[in-house]
Subunit: 279 residues, 2 copies
């Protein structure tokens, strides 16, 4: 069996023993040196950081994180391991640590749905006020790939929008949008500052949207986009390409969206589909 760095414990198939994380991990490194112990601590700290990070996303800790001692007990690791985990989370911008106030959540990201097609304002009902700073709203001939995805002739024009989207005054995403012209041109007269594009498209088209293809990736913000998103260059962003169709299947809206990773989490629920059903 291929192993990386450490040896897998031989098959444990008998009754389970009580093995707190740190002991379980250290038991694999009998006689190991300092660098191995450091690696084990980094492994444990990652386990701790992953669970705490997700708890922040889930909305735990509204009044701040427990003390280091308490976290050490909860996670069954040393206080040093907790410190390593918390300093990672601070470096990632999830928590603030101050002598008097202890450890508090810097900012909880908002949930965007992966399993239904909604605009940002529709999604963030109850979270706060969504406003869009419209940087560009114009008519242009798009690149051939964009024309192809929108099923347009090569020289057909589209409406191009560039919007910085804010929740309660804080930037959360930068959206580059290509709209087919029969729908996009009327939208240039609409209030793009307070509306999502989706309901505006439905108004203009006189019918509901159907579905969208999503392609989601992670990226480090380039220097230019970082300024627009009000983050440090290199900060993590979610990169979403979304091709949206009307109910009749016609593609009308192609977007390239950069979402601040500290402000938006994508949530979804998926069902098991067996290979046999899928073919």
């Amino acid at each position: 069996m291929t192993t990386v760095g450490r040896t897998r414990r031989p098959g444990i198939s008998g009754p389970a023993e009580t093995l707190p994380i740190l002991i379980a991990m250290e038991s694999m490194q009998v006689g190991a040196g300092t660098s191995t112990r450091r690696a084990a601590r980094a492994d444990n700290a990652r386990v701790v950081a992953d669970v705490i990070r997700q708890s922040i996303v889930d909305g735990a800790y509204p009044t701040g994180l427990p003390l280091e001692d308490e976290l050490a007990r909860e996670f069954r690791v040393s206080r040093n391991t907790v410190r390593v985990a918390l300093s990672s989370l601070r470096a990632e911008g999830w928590i603030d640590r101050t002598p008097r106030l202890g450890t508090t959540v810097a900012q909880r990201p908002v949930d965007h749905r992966l399993d239904c097609l909604r605009g940002l304002k529709e999604t963030l009902v109850g979270y706060g006020e969504v406003r869009n700073a419209v940087r560009i709203a114009t008519v242009l001939v798009p690149p051939p790939v964009v024309a192809r995805k929108l099923e347009l002739a090569v020289d057909e024009q589209v409406v191009y929008l560039e919007r910085i989207r804010q929740l309660d005054g804080e930037t959360i995403s930068l959206d580059l949008t290509y709209l087919v012209s029969d729908i996009g041109i009327p939208l240039l007269d609409a209030d793009l500052e307070t509306n999502d594009v989706f309901p505006l498209i439905e108004q203009v088209a006189g019918c509901a949207l159907g579905d969208a293809d999503l392609s989601l990736s992670a990226a480090a913000a380039d220097a230019h986009s970082a300024v627009d998103l009000d983050v440090a260059a290199g900060s993590p962003v979610l990169l979403l390409e979304r091709l949206t169709r009307l109910a009749d299947g016609r593609p009308v809206d192609l977007e390239y969206i950069r979402m601040r990773a500290d402000r938006i989490t994508m949530r979804g629920n998926v069902s098991r589909i067996h290979e046999s059903e899928n073919r």
Copy 2:
């Protein structure tokens, strides 16, 4: 209307004019100085880079990218703007540029589905051979949050796995997995190196998986995880928490997965659900 950096063109509702991207954008900056022109070029370069990046993900350019001149014509921008776009894409690791060979795709990421529940090996059928380097496979008492999500008593034990997952020998993700013990313990004797956990769970449980809750974010790889993922520290990763249930609704598998952003793109299709239907 709030604008950021530049002024929105007043409503264009008449017949569309032919406005190539660069001209359209530059027309908004009449009389602007060098720094504004630089910002316009950066905007244009981002438009170009976003479309090319997605084309790479979509599998365009199997034999390499077109020449700079050709891209400049396609995107209706200057060659300088194309150069800025290509140097961003090179910095992000998407393309290689060599004097003789021109511009080639460094590596095309594989597609992982967002709209059905599949293991990595099930997903990557046809892409190559998936193997898992099992770093840790043990029994432990999980943190209380993990116990709660798996609907276990606070001191109940779970099986904990740490696996580095590789496609044709290249690392693509690092998976930290908590399994309820009645399912996890038999798995410790299974071949975890060549199998996904999902079909193994179904074998042991004697029934199919049902669904999973996903929470997806972007992150910069911490130094320790970067080594495990074989990337530079700070490289973008997709961070996925996935809680998987059996068909009867019992949660059995909680995972924290780091996927290399240059190796995996998440794809899905979503349908419009109207607020009224959803309440």
